[in-house]
């Protein structure tokens, strides 16, 4: 087995364990390359099917190509696609692009709060109707208690301390120092009522592995990752006011792999183009304690 086969096998194992152990399970799909690889791995795990809803938090500031790509794949792959949004904040213009908030508070409002309330069912959820090919209000208000997330240990400091199965209490608190032991592929699957679980099947993957796998499996990704001729591309995708392209002439997956291995990005962090990380003093710890993924 090569290293990609090993990573794939472990992720598939974790996904199947999660699915067999938890009800009300969802997968977060940010439309970025990592969670798209995660989605692909779910199709691997369940033999072409995705037996749980995919949740996307739409901040309304995502780059438009991202939403277009999301809906195209959702229809094509028959995904149970659900999105949530902080409509109040958007309506009242309480955002960073509106000049009302700093970047961190904006992330908290449009992402963390929206995510928490979408998961709990407190705010409306919109489900893709495959017949009408449009989003309709989802009748199901049951809280989602298990969330599959595509974080990688190599992304930044706090993520390297994650477990594959990570319990959070009702307030989403994460006690980094006192995490359950995880050994021999036995994960924490027993919980006091009220506990939520986050499942991290991509923990062992690196940015390079993600691209190698996208290349090997020929997984469709948003074209924003590639240079369209202007000499720049996105290395990490987010909201357009806070995510900046990097100078690069990588036009396809092979170019990106070469660039990551030997080029100028071989020792510059992937999230360097994400402005909110810098405002959080770096580690994203504040945001992540609040429930940021």
């Amino acid at each position: 087995m090569d290293h990609l086969e090993k990573l794939e096998s472990q992720s598939v194992y974790i996904l199947r364990e999660g699915y067999s152990q938890f009800k009300n399970l969802v997968m977060l799909w940010s439309i970025g390359k990592d969670s798209t690889v995660l989605l692909w791995l779910a199709r691997k795990a369940f033999f072409g099917h995705v037996p749980f809803p995919l949740v996307h938090i739409d901040t309304a500031y995502k780059i438009p190509e991202m939403i277009q790509y999301r809906d195209q794949l959702a229809l094509e792959w028959h995904l149970n696609m659900v999105y949530g949004q902080n409509t109040e904040a958007l309506k009242n213009k309480q955002t960073f692009p509106d000049g009302a908030l700093d970047r961190i508070s904006c992330c908290k409002t449009l992402k963390t709060d929206a995510l928490r309330n979408t998961l709990s069912g407190a705010w409306p959820r919109y489900r893709l109707d495959h017949v009408q090919k449009k989003y309709v209000l989802d009748e199901n208000k049951e809280p989602y208690t298990g969330v599959i997330v595509g974080v990688r240990a190599d992304e930044e400091g706090s993520r390297s301390k994650e477990r594959y199965f990570s319990p959070r209490d009702k307030r989403n608190d994460w006690n980094v120092g006192d995490q359950p032991p995880e050994l021999w592929n036995q994960f924490k699957t027993d919980f006091a009522p009220g506990t939520h679980i986050r499942i991290h099947p991509l923990l062992d993957w690196t940015e390079l592995n993600i691209w190698e796998y996208i290349g090997r499996e020929n997984i469709p990704v948003v074209p924003l990752y590639f240079d369209q001729g202007k000499g720049e591309r996105y290395r990490s995708l987010g909201c357009f006011p806070c995510t900046f392209p990097v100078k690069s002439t990588a036009k396809n997956v092979e170019d990106i792999i070469t660039e990551l291995k030997t080029g100028k990005f071989s020792n510059i962090a992937e999230r360097a183009g994400r402005a909110q990380d810098k405002e959080d003093g770096g580690g994203l710890e504040t945001l992540r304690r609040e429930g940021y993924m």
Binding site: M1, D2, H3, E5, K6, E8, S9, Q10, V12, Y13, R16, E17, Y19, S20, R43, K44, A45, F46, F47, G48, H49, P51, H78, A153, D154, E155, E156, G157, S160, K161, R163, Q179, P180, P181, E182, L183, W184, Q186, K188, D190, F191, A192, T195, L208, E212, E217, K261, T262, N267, I268, A269, R271, A272, D277, G281, G282, G283
Partner: protein, 601 residues
């Protein structure tokens, strides 16, 4: 030209040892001397130290890298990355403090090899021993012991030899044989990447040479085939009729057409296809792959069963086994308390049957009197599961020979199985295995039979004391089921006693034999696809185990009338003995509907 490491397999190394024996310095020095640090980092930390007039330490590098990662470069103290000429390494820094033992275990359990650091001046300490013991239990065979801070003992060969002798003597009885003892002065970089001039009496490998000499775990393809079943998937509503038995192959390999057996149930079938999404069709699957199979016969199997090859050595099956356990729980592990055992994908209630020895790891004194296993202790004991499980001895196939123990909601212990202990049903199980191995299958597929009859086969067993009415409830259910079109039959115990059992003495000692025969009859009727009703007065746990062993455990439904004297978790439905038979029968019908055994009217 930079060497491309990415295709070479990365190796996970854990660094363990007593607190302050120099783990961080070893890591810092390895990062620095293999040029794996970000540019200018070393100078920056050195300058900072000079400015604050404190002596530079390589351990500071790790702290500095933590700051660095705030600025975006992703190195964590818990996991660092470096490269040698040969390959890439991930270094897992396991906490040396006893409070973080479960973190140490989580880290070390992922490693393929370990460096264990001992301070030459302090010698073998409590956690040097504890970590050594745990490495052995975690199955890490490639261990190098680094005797650090040799500069503080004037590079004395004598002191080095003494520590080596003492530590080897400690490790020997627990079966851990280090690949090497290496004298180092990590702080000064001696014997880390470069050989030390001050340690010229030492002719062995440096740390880096040692790491490069560690081997990737050998392939498990040659071992007997084992796949703990994770799930049986059927996505019918999406127009997919495949019934896929899925899991990860832990050892061995298998091909289309191979005969397979599932344990502990002994169900047999044959591999029809190997299933994978977005991959070329496969005829063979081997260790390490998460995969799926469709089978020729649609047999009843469950998550937790171990899929094996028919013609290979099978796992052991018993409800009793001997294990070495390490305990991490805040509360001790005690006798007469039910825990949950998780082995492979199976989960089953478990209790301590007998504590043979408790080792105080730090002292390694054996205590044979203890009646509990305290936090951070290691013990040898016999565990008893509520039902038989399939397993291997950890020395033979690791993945199916080790387990964790859940107390309440938390994984609180881990263990490896060292011996089989025969339980009471062992002989019976052998007979059943022989029966199943040679079973002559009906040409009618059980799933087709189920579809035609509109229900799966089921053995509804009404239990309770003598004198409590069970038979009328059973007959009432039979009637209702029959009227609703189910294939059903009341199996009268009296009919068996006066017929099939007539050769048996009407003696209490023959009761087990009567129960066994009842089970065999039920097994035939289940194979015929029926819902069987039967009663058992004063049936006890042991007799129920016989029935479960002889028939298919998952098709038995235990309905107890009146006082329940079974062990917890065995009874599926409890009925009030004071209620009328018709009312109780109705409750059972509702239960069958809620369990989706029969459809609602």
């Amino acid at each position: 030209m930079k060497k491309d490491h990415t295709q070479a397999a990365k190796m996970n190394i854990v660094i363990v040892g007593h607190v302050d024996h120099g783990k961080s310095t070893v890591i810092g020095r390895l990062l620095a001397d293999t040029h794996s640090l970000p540019q200018g980092k070393l100078e920056q930390v050195k300058n900072e130290c000079a400015r604050n007039s404190k002596p530079f330490e390589y351990a500071f590098l790790l702290d500095a890298l933590k700051d660095e990662q705030s600025q975006g470069i992703t190195i964590d103290t818990a996991r660092s990355f470096f490269k040698s000429e040969k390959r890439e390494y991930i270094i897992i820094d396991a906490p040396g403090h006893i409070e973080f033992l479960k973190n140490m275990i989580s880290g070390a359990a992922r490693a393929e090899a370990a460096l264990l650091v001992i301070d030459a001046k302090e010698g073998v300490q409590e956690n040097s021993k504890r970590h050594g013991y745990l490495l052995s239990m975690l199955g890490i065979r490639q261990v190098a012991v680094c005797i650090n801070k040799m500069d503080l003992v004037q590079y004395s060969e004598k002191i080095f030899k003494e520590i080596e002798k003492e530590y080897r003597a400690f490790l020997k009885p627990i079966g851990l044989k280090p690949k090497a003892f290496i004298p180092i002065a990590a702080m000064l970089g001696e014997n880390m990447v470069e050989a030390s001039k001050n340690l010229s009496w030492y002719h062995g490998k440096t740390i880096l040479e040692m790491l490069d000499s560690f081997e990737k775990a050998p392939s498990l393809d040659a071992k007997p085939f084992r796949m703990p079943v994770q799930a049986i998937y059927k996505f019918t509503e999406e127009g997919d009729d495949r019934r896929i038995v899925s899991g990860r192959v832990e050892s061995g390999s298998i091909a289309v057409g191979d005969s397979v057996v599932f344990l502990p149930s002994h169900k047999r079938s044959e591999v029809k296809t190997i299933e994978e999404f977005h991959a070329p069709a496969k005829k063979r699957a081997a260790a390490g792959h998460s995969i799926g199979f469709t089978l020729k016969e649609q047999i009843y199997i469950n998550r937790g069963d171990v899929m094996c090859k028919g013609d290979e050595e099978h796992p052991l099956v018993s409800s009793l086994f001997q294990a070495e356990i390490f305990w991490m729980g805040r509360d001790p592990m005690v006798m007469n308390k039910e825990y949950k055992l998780k082995i492979g994908t199976a989960a089953v209630p478990v209790q301590i049957h007998e504590i043979k020895r408790v080792f105080d790891v730090s002292q390694l004194k054996k205590s044979e009197r203890k009646k509990q296993i305290d936090r951070h202790e290691v013990a040898q004991c016999i565990l008893e599961c509520a039902r038989p499980i399939a397993f291997d001895l950890a020395g033979q196939i690791e993945a199916t020979g080790r387990f964790v123990i859940v107390d309440q909601y938390d994984i609180s212990g881990g263990g490896i199985i060292s011996a089989l202990v025969k339980d009471k049903e062992a002989d019976l199980r052998d007979e059943v295995e022989a029966r199943e191995m040679n079973w002559d299958f009906s040409i009618v597929d059980p799933k087709e039979r189920e579809a035609r009859y509109g229900h799966p086969p089921k053995f509804i067993l009404l239990t309770g004391k003598v004198g409590v009415d069970k038979k009328n409830i059973a007959k009432e259910i039979e009637k209702t089921l029959f009227e609703r079109g189910a294939k059903t039959y009341f199996l009268g115990m009296g009919n068996l006693l006066r017929g099939l059992d007539v050769d048996l003495e009407k003696h209490k000692s023959e009761r087990h034999q009567q129960v066994r025969r009842m089970g065999e009859v039920a097994h035939l009727l289940l194979d015929a696809g029926l819902i069987i009703l039967a009663t058992g007065s004063n049936l006890n746990d042991e007799e129920l185990k016989i029935l479960q062993e002889v028939t298919d455990r998952s098709s038995i439904l235990v309905v107890n009338v009146g006082e329940n004297h079974f062990r917890e978790g065995i009874v599926d439905l409890n009925l009030n003995a004071k209620d009328a038979a018709s009312r109780n029968a109705k409750k059972v019908m509702e239960f069958l509907e809620s369990e989706k055994i029969i459809g609602k009217v």
